[in-house]
Subunit: 394 residues, 2 copies
Amino acid sequence: MKYRFASRMEKTPRSFIREILKVTLDPEIISFGGGLPNPALFPVEALVEAARDVLTEDGMSALQYSTTEGYLPLREYIATRYLKRTGLSLSPENILITNGSQQCLDLIGKVFINKEDPVAIERPGYLGAIQAFSLYEPEFHDVPLLEDGPDTEILSQVLERYSPKLFYGVPNFQNPSGISYSGEKRHEVAEILSEHDTLFIEDDAYGELRFRGEDLPLVSSYLPGQGVVTGSFSKIIAPGMRMGWIAAPPEVSEQVVTAKQASDLHSNYLTQRIIYKFLTDNDLDLHIRHIREVYRHQRDIMVTMIEETFPPDVTITRPDGGMFLWATLPPGFSTMDLFHIAIKENVAFVPGDPFYTSDNGSNTMRLNYSNSDEERIVEGITRLSKAIRMMLKN
Amino acid sequence: MKYRFASRMEKTPRSFIREILKVTLDPEIISFGGGLPNPALFPVEALVEAARDVLTEDGMSALQYSTTEGYLPLREYIATRYLKRTGLSLSPENILITNGSQQCLDLIGKVFINKEDPVAIERPGYLGAIQAFSLYEPEFHDVPLLEDGPDTEILSQVLERYSPKLFYGVPNFQNPSGISYSGEKRHEVAEILSEHDTLFIEDDAYGELRFRGEDLPLVSSYLPGQGVVTGSFSKIIAPGMRMGWIAAPPEVSEQVVTAKQASDLHSNYLTQRIIYKFLTDNDLDLHIRHIREVYRHQRDIMVTMIEETFPPDVTITRPDGGMFLWATLPPGFSTMDLFHIAIKENVAFVPGDPFYTSDNGSNTMRLNYSNSDEERIVEGITRLSKAIRMMLKN
């Protein structure tokens, strides 16, 4: 028979990262391509205990259907932690538990985006958001990221000209670039947004992973009723459990619940219970401090190796947290070409192209440092440097 | 600020069942309203062991990000079981693991339905499918269910006239009606469909719960390349783990994977591993046999009680499996009115209205027997009978 697919399926970029991850399954290849946390940091023992306790103490309830919003004590924990960590006051009633923070993006697309609706996004932007939103067929308008956050002049122009329904951003340690909004930029972005009916979608998946400097307030703190915050346990506990959350103003939250219910009824309830048990029986701050130390070390090794081995006309970002840094080759060179050379040298990364919704950043690339130990970072950057030098000479 | 929601949000029916479940939180109320499995049948002990083994033996991998399609051994297990149980041959490559079978419906909507596309559905139809599809704004065309399956004359007319992209059906122990397609009807439906470019979405969430008669082939067995089968571990292991699957022809499967990746990357990998461990270390057939025995007993008690106490002009279905039966009051009476009387008698059910996409079945209602023990069924039906008699006399 002839399959008649929806038109939205033609607009979804096939994930290049997914293709890359396949190439890099070869254990000979050192991959800075994925976006994986370091699995040595997963709290396996504590999760064994949490799972056992939840199932033996309350298995019949933990295995049953549950509410769409999610386990209330877990939502209360999340609200309390935001208040403590960032000063942002959220009501647990307006927090919904999702399948990782990726699902937040799908739900936001569902709730807000009609075909051809204007949506503003950072350039470069998070690929997962581009993919999720693309299924709702928006028109993207991008706002370049400078070293300290979005180019506010262009942000103003985009808001003025297109009145986007949403502006999606990752103010802390952005994926892919590692860039964070400065304290001043946060104020400025909020001020500009407050003059428009544009909701700020603040993806804070990496916020807890700051290893340098002081925590800064969420942009949403300055935007009452106008910010939607998404977060995730993937980077602070474990991604295979697919647990994230979305905190939204009440009117938005109500629509998100309707969309979530139609999408999959509710998130894995057993896992919600296990995570909550883990959080109450363990010292999360201590655990996160450990993750930060490890990632800072891995980031420092990578930056140092790059400084020592890359040609000087390759520039990089120097992130204060998160899992990625961003490298830029001199104009005219393509990281897609570099990828093929690098693979022959047994090292991989993600070329920048898929992170752009308009004119591309062909000479950019994303490097992940969270999932490689010191030895592999040293060896991998040495190989990558060799590949870059081979290409730049051509 | 003014929130500008997408137009699709206006078309989604707010779940009346969700509202009902709130009313019935009162422990005094005996509820036949929910769609919950009997939690006493959850294999808690075996899951404790499976969780411990997976985490201790392979925690770092089980907690990491994984592939969008899902854990291959689990998909192989599902394929093998279909072959053994129903004779349907499926390739594991074309099976994708989802967050319960509800997510299958969302993914199908995403992959196929453009605004105003024609979609055929049973009348009454599964509320979760109506909700999931509604977010993609189709035009529904309904096909009445007779005692042995869809009215094939009307099915032919609908296919001829509207050429729906999809026909969604639940051939085994339908939710809400408890009706199953007869062996003959399965052939007939397949034959009619095979003359059209209409994909059959075969929701088989209850297929394993047959407690009377012989298993019948899936309709998709007769429709190579034209059937999509969805299934779930919710009814045979536990719903709180949100694990289901979708098996589709290769070309469809590829699109479903793209949609799934954009929606939430992949399903909870730890849970996939725990379920697979449970399946390999335990006798699933024995476990399911036990569930069937319990549900047959509960169904028999409910049917007997209804026969003994309901006025004779209230008719019911007599399901051979699954979790629900369907009652119809004489014409002109409303189960929504009955609901309010029944609540005062401390008994609840789901009025039929939300299961209809066109002219409603105001005099119908769904009764769940899987989640009440003998004593509560006897007492609850006695109360309901009293409420019905009060209403019919008015």
